[in-house]
Amino acid sequence: MSEKIIQFIGVSKAYDKTLAVEDVNFYVNKGEFITFLGPSGCGKTTTLRMIAGFEMPTSGQILLDGKDITNVPPHKRPINTVFQRYALFPHLSVYDNIAFGLKLKKIKVVLENKNGERIEKYEKLTRGEIKEKVTNALKIVDLEGFEDRNITTLSGGQQQRIAIARAIVNEPEILLLDEPLGALDLKMRKEMQLELKEMHRKLGITFIYVTHDQEEALTMSDTVIVMKDGMIQQIGTPMDIYNEPKNVFVADFIGESNILSGVMTDKFKVKFAGHVFDCVDDFAKNEYVDVVVRPEDIDMVEKDQGDVNGKVISSIFKGIHYEMTVIAGKNEFVIQNTDERKVGETIGLKIGPEDIHIMAKEFTINRYDGYITKKNTVVFGDGEYEADVTQLYPNSHIDEEGYLITDDGKQIDLTDADVSVEVGLKCIDIDDNVEEANAVGKIISIIYKGDHYQIIVRTENEEDYVADTEYLWNENDMVGIKIAAKDIKLSLKTEAQK
């Protein structure tokens, strides 16, 4: 039975108005190597900083060994951090950097006084004890004899090791590592990954690691927490995360994957790319789903021998395998295999039931709260749109003064009426022309789904538009949003004024 050392209960952190971390719940087991993984701005570093105590949550609770430490300052937490850019003290020698924490530490000792009473006292470490610990820490990071060196004369890799030594010498219950290998070159990074893993094994303390490098996360961790937009997407072992991604984002972020739109035709039957496949995931019949297939899980067979036929349109040698792109009907598959099929060849593709990962569609429709203006346009999602307001009352029409006349001749003023708005994913037009668009936003995510891209555009006030389009855009581009009047579905939230 493992013990929970850290627990987050409904923790949120807001800067000004934007939420960096939103209602996060998780726990870390004692002795575990846990990694927060996600793209920049996903809230992983903020989460780490809340564990360290550098940031206080806006709401929620943080428990350490079951005790609430939400408002305990960093210097009173038995936690040490290895900073992203090391943060070594340039005015101190290597020895003094490592001894920094030890010199401040007070150890509880129980003494017996003359009367034989036991008294508890807090005592500082002696000079000899500190020296011994520092020497030992330097041995662990393989930098024996570096005590008197000046910090500024060390290489990046050496500074990194000193930063680790400075943290572990305090024997913390938890070691936090904030992208510690980010500044090192590839070879050094690989070496340090293995060394850190080995250190974790030897020290037996809890490691909480933050990275945006999925390979690093999968290699080192016992548990991976995937984050996006301040929210946890999935918690699991590296195997779970890779083999059973919970949603399209995780599938896309971890490793490479083919993501396609499909529909359930029966129990354990899913149709995509024009073929009905057997699968192992149970979803309701006729439900639209996202299908994820890893590139290495697609078998290539002779034409007409597989589930679908496709034509090889590109092939790249990647060292261990070839990466081929195959077009099957309107869908594109990326396939990795040690055997190469030549460009132009038509082949059969075969996918086993356990290699088909099915997940509920995250977005099926865009929903907004909006209101109707004096001009009978609708304001929602940070924009103003022409829409057909007569759909709110069957057989109604608009008179010359702009009032709505219902079927039975009643006059209704729709000004300021609150409406719910629904827009289909395919009905949202993304346009270069920001000036003439109804709303403007930044592209925050692009996921390729076999025959189209799913693009999320976020406006300044954090309204999201999810659009399915055949055209590829660039992430972080500012784009305009246009929606045709006929594609805006309205329903009244409250009865409008008569």
């Binding site: 360290a52 105590g53 550098f54 300052p73 960093p74 210097h75 936690i79 040490n80 951090t81 900073f83 850019r85 943060a87 070594l88 003290f89 340039p90 005015h91 920094f100 924490g101 401040l104 530490k105 500024t152 004369t153 400075r166 943290a167 305090n170």
Partner: protein, 267 residues
């Protein structure tokens, strides 16, 4: 013959300037300091005159005392200001900093006379000459202390403060063990910029001390003016130069070279 202009020749105007306005005057001072006024013969008597005169030595002592007091109070006042300004997340903090530095842009004679009127108004003028002088010095030199302190504090890596608190340091230990040692460069340049000018700024001591506070700068002025003893004046100036040089060495003002070499080592 064609004249070829090379980059090296750019140094000529600066070389001329330095020779004319720095080296030559310095040589004159040395010449006057070591010669007799009437005969022009080599002598050490100018130094002897100064070093054996009780009034001269007490003037020197007073100057050093005024300079130490001014520097100390400037540091005590400026550090918290610079610290708060550098640490505050306020968006308009540069405006606030400018307000502290703004007096530097107004003619100091005007400011000192204004202070004199104020001291007169509250009845201190003429009653606390030394206090008034030091007050004027602090008022005049405070910005020179704030600026270098602010610059070093704002440049400091905030991660280091977090690292200190991560390793168990509370606010006080973090200040003593990280912030203070790391702002040493700023403290030293602040001290250099306040201590040395205070020793010679006799306009302030004359105006606010009503002539009762004589500092070394005043003595030199007298030698070149009323007493017409250029040789003694030069000797005093030279002694001052040695003292200033000594304080520079002592406070490590010349350590820039080492810091530069360290910085260069990074590349």
């Amino acid at each position: 013959m064609k004249f070829h202009f090379s980059r090296k020749q750019l140094i000529i105007p600066y070389g001329l300037f330095l020779a004319l306005f720095v080296v030559l005057p310095l040589l004159f001072i040395v010449y006057y300091a070591f010669t007799d006024g009437s005969t022009g013969a080599f002598t050490l008597s100018n130094f002897g005159k100064f070093l054996t005169s009780g009034t001269s030595l007490s003037t020197l002592l007073l100057s050093v005392g005024v300079a130490i007091l001014t520097t100390l109070f400037c540091l005590l006042i400026a550090y918290p200001i610079a610290y708060v300004l550098a640490r505050s997340k306020m968006k308009k903090k540069t405006v606030l900093l400018m307000l502290f530095v703004l007096p530097m842009w107004i003619n100091f004679v005007l400011r000192i006379n204004a202070l004199r009127e104020f001291l007169d108004l509250i009845g201190l003028l003429g009653n606390a000459n030394l206090f008034n002088t030091v007050l004027g010095m602090i008022y005049d030199f405070l910005p020179f202390m704030i600026l270098p302190l602010y610059t070093t504090l704002i440049k400091m890596d905030k991660n280091l403060l977090e690292a200190s608190s991560d390793l168990g340091g509370n606010a006080f230990t973090t200040f003593i063990k990280v912030t203070l040692p790391m702002s040493m460069q700023g403290i030293i340049s602040g001290i250099t910029m306040v201590f040395m000018p205070t020793m010679t700024n006799y306009v302030i001591s004359d105006t606010l001390g009503l002539g009762h506070v004589t500092i070394i700068g005043k003595l030199i002025e007298d030698c070149f003016g009323a007493r017409a003893d250029w040789n003694l004046g030069s000797a005093i100036a030279l002694i001052l130069l040695v003292i200033i040089f000594a304080t520079m060495v002592f406070t490590g003002g010349f350590k820039d070279d080492e810091a530069g070499a360290r910085g260069a080592g990074l590349w």
